[in-house]
Symmetry: D2
Subunit: 367 residues, 4 copies
């Protein structure tokens, strides 16, 4: 635990994920929001005027009268910078903040595939955070960029990690039923989703993310990774070896406010009965350095016994929205196991995930 | 086309599927509803008083003042009897009607697995209808029982049939997002589905149906099937040889009124590119004897080109709700192809399907 | 009935009301769509590419391949021009078309309060259509502008007309529960309306419309209206004397796709029992010249007897969406009567209303 | 504050209001749940097995393993008995508990009109609670029955109280948009409310309640009320003189999970501008004895300035669901003021209200 509160900032603070950041940072034991930035339209306004608040908890008192500043390294000075920026904007701005010395904890997808950028779920791959050392060497930054995965990859990867550690995972079918808040605000038109399902998310890019991101997070952190042969002459350096798991994903949007549900079928290296798998899921514990942080999920995974759970409305707030909820673990007639995963997409899968990443950086003395 | 209108009856006429029967039989060119039966509570009432009408088209004029009778072979005299009964009730009553000489076209699941009962989608397996001859021999009935499949199996099987004919299908992953009307009325409580998904349908039996029924419909009708070895001494007789395809299904309930969406991944015997598969789906034509019936879907399969279709609200009424709508045909990273299937669950998947079956019986002179 | 089909055009054809126009004009017995215009972004595209179709009936075949043109009097040449334009755009463009000789039948609110512009519900005030003669004199136009009211005013005014004719109406309380399609597309964000009600529509302007528009439509058409005293020296001319009825309105947005519900309490000049009022509503017939047009509602008003009707999902399509549905007519403890009115907001309350107005113009030889 | 925890019980603990009681009593500073009763079907089961939990907060730990007992005075022994019973059952059972010495705090409507039964909103009419003394005299009970109003009357009456105290209220129009949870579980079928509004609640009884209950709560507690003339010979006794206010109510069910919205127009004895009324609403303070109780709303009334608030999803949890939220206070063209009231129907309007009543009884030494 840090000796004094660490100054943090939120970029993109007025959007729906930005609002979750502001809400989750209210009374945070380690962090104090000292700046919040948004687009030109909002700059100079009080936060309570600039943000069209959409959460069902009230706008935090500390934030109401803060003045929105532009997202520049001059205007925003903080040790940790949370990024709820759109991807294109994030791509430009995040390196500027890293160069200026800030630890950028980003929810944007721009740098998730960066070979020196950790893609983090602390309960899964806390050790990957040390990749920022290589990143600093590569770019000469005093700050750094860390990322959290796509909201659908999040719960899926946490559940798979427990199974992979115990039995090995070889193949994964995943079909998502994703919540509306994942599309931001105003996001999905009511006329598009009332009495309806949209069998595609994010113009198709979503499925590629779900098929790739878990492989990075379930991959191995290697201190001296051989460079690709095309990079002859380059010396070995730290990197991530992608997990050798095959993924197939279908992503769908459904009429749910918060909470992504994913139907999963998996093939295991060492197949087991559902009861054994349930025990492994229940017993799963985060890496020690990610276990006792302020945002650590308690428990990491909750396994429901009921035949019709998890359900987003009833289960998304388990563990304050940080817990991954699994249910209906049963045999799969083609692969080995079927189950359902639920994760709160704007808490565990977005703002809460970035904050948890920042806590891990603090805990590992990587600020 | 029959020379005069054929008298038909509807059992379970007041429920939500019963209402679809009544609506679809309004102005049917071949059939005339002469009796409608429901539970004791409704008997003796006018249909318009007994049925809590839930469709968005008005109650048909012909039906308003018909008096509900009990579901007995005395009270209901008709050449064709449509059954929208609950499974337990159907189990008892349908054989009585078959014995009494009626062709029972049932939406109930009670006899779908019967080895002498055709499970029919006329555009898929019209030839299976001749299994009723064996059924009549076995039971000494002058009538017969035919069934239509579960509403989620319906669209899935039709799409698979086109692919199976063209390329061979080996493995199928299917995840459904099913509409509320599939649960009948009052069915799903609003408190259970608003802002929610229920990751289970029908107490679990649904997934078994989706994993088994397509195998029967995609199976071969064999005039002289060898009896199982345990039935030594029995002579060969007509039957269905299940298709050798593996299925894995997850079924979910979502906040949609009508229209079941299914996300499907398939492995083919002869893998092809998506464009070839799309062509095969578009070209698929029903068996000749099922092509020109009053309820024949036109087209059998509609393939959408848009990246976010089919969608239940926008596409469920294509082909008057009898067409199977397919979209997003693309490569699957583990198996061969991924796609999405949409089918109207109370029209193609229930009442409309039973009526189509009845038309096939007429066309094949099997009444 | 005209001797040959009349060429018509739709301005703003790609929006949600524009789509309704295109759909309702499919196979219209009198009108043939010869041009469709939309914003610059769409010009030059095929209609099927330019319009993001949101209706649950398919895009009409006749329209699929029509090329979108700009909304100018050069590009759009038609006897009748239907306007689904936004108000600001309509304000500029509609007079240009009227000047160029077209009969503009507008759904926009820009000219509803114009003292020489008829605000029309043909079943209510068909005689007001002759105000276009004064309009032509005032502006020297060969064409003209007619308007239909706000979608919430529509059903309310039709029900009030029946009561006003029979008993006189003095005061009206109206609280609306309005559908999402009234806000256009994308319109209301799903995050704003799921599990929610928005107690305000259109930034407040809606309530003023509902409190004023019915007074014009229920007012008297006077051939030689005295000019206002402030206009000394002006000669008498035709105009509308507003009805002397007081209105108070609250407007709300609810999670319904189509169909505006309005809860109404009224004070009558000659109070009557509910049964008498019901009879007057049922007996109400449109002005003879509005009775037998292609879009005439049949019946004008449908009164439901059930204690829980009308309901938007079940009753909005009565009379092909042109009928006004009334229910729950009962005593009001403060005023005289309470009742509920339902009207389809994009059919009777928008595109269908404009088309009905155009038919009236034809029937009255006012083109 | 009581010197030790008071033993309380919940009747009807498994239903949706019963669940709210269990949830709100978790960690209550004064009360400890010692018994919970439900229907025969549930008796003998653990609470976590008997209740189909529908709240989005988890079932409280204290309650999970409690065994459900029958709702008899033998099985349920507690100083305070909270009743979430259905009205017919409540009618029989509540007097038995009052006779046996318990203070029954009931959410049922059975005794709300009882002339010696207080109908309580502590922030409105805390003084009425002393009517239980007369009740005890009348029946010879050591216990008593108190009631809280219908969920729609609740917020409405609280807002009216602030205006009535300041300016006098003469007439009230109220149109409700009520949440689904008000109908209990399973309550409203999803097929009845998706894409729909039901313009009637509770088979019509709801409107009568909303038109009558506020008059009792806004009425005067009179220690020696003259008996009605028909009761000649009866001596004066304590009672409530109904407020001389006229009400007209329309009640509607909408697709909202929790939170009743009411559109209100009022006539005042001393008409004022909206800003003055807003100030009176903001300044309203509860009766001193109801101000500092554990469930006292803080604030009693929250007035929103935004043009589109209150909204149920965003505002129902203000003040932990006990605050009445008012917005859109503006002039009414017929009466004097229009505004919108929002109140959480199962917290302030049901379980929370009963608990607040119980706290008042304790504070006034009336146990």
């Amino acid at each position: 635990m840090p000796s004094s509160q660490i100054p943090v900032a939120v970029l993109g603070a007025t959007g729906s994920v930005g609002q979750r950041f502001m809400s989750l940072l209210d009374n945070h034991p380690w962090f104090k929001v000292v700046a919040l930035a948004a687009s030109d339209r909002s700059v100079g306004q009080k936060y309570s005027d600039a943000a069209r608040w959409v959460l069902d908890t009230p706008i935090p008192e500390y934030a109401r009268d803060m003045i929105v500043v532009p997202a520049t390294t001059d205007a925003v000075q903080a040790k940790i910078v949370f990024s709820a920026l759109h991807n294109e904007v994030a791509k430009d701005l995040e390196p500027q903040f890293a160069k200026a010395g800030a630890a950028v904890c980003s929810n944007a997808s721009s740098y998730r595939r960066g070979e020196d950028v950790p893609l983090l779920l602390p309960e899964v791959n806390a050790d990957h955070v040390h990749l920022v050392k290589q990143q600093r060497i590569n770019h000469g930054w005093s700050g750094c960029i860390t990322t959290n995965p796509n909201c659908t990859s999040t719960g899926l990867t946490i559940a798979l990690k427990a199974l992979d550690d115990a039995f090995g995972v070889k193949k994964v079918f995943a079909v998502s039923l994703q919540a509306l808040s994942g599309a931001g605000y105003p996001g999905v038109s009511s006329l598009d989703i009332m009495d309806n399902v949209i069998p595609n998310v994010g113009n198709g890019g979503e499925e590629e993310k779900v098929e790739w991101e878990p492989r990075k997070m379930l991959g191995k952190f290697i201190e001296t990774l051989e460079p690709p042969s095309s990079a002859a002459g380059t010396s070995p350096r730290a990197g991530i070896e992608l997990a050798n798991i095959q993924f197939s994903a279908h992503t769908n949007r459904v009429a749910v406010i918060d909470g992504h549900t994913v139907c999963v079928s998996v093939q295991l290296t060492n197949p087991v009965e559902p009861e054994i798998a349930i025990q492994a899921l229940r017993d799963y514990a985060a890496h020690p350095s990610a276990r006792e942080l302020p945002s650590s999920p308690r428990p990491v995974i909750s396994v429901r016994d009921e035949a019709d759970r998890p359900q987003p409305r009833l289960d998304r707030l388990i563990g304050k929205g940080m817990t991954t909820v699994v249910g209906r673990v049963r045999r799969d007639p083609i692969l080995d196991l079927k189950f359902v995963v639920l994760s709160h997409n704007t808490i565990r899968g977005a703002a809460g995930g970035s904050i948890y990443n920042a806590e891990l950086l603090v805990n590992e003395n990587l600020l």
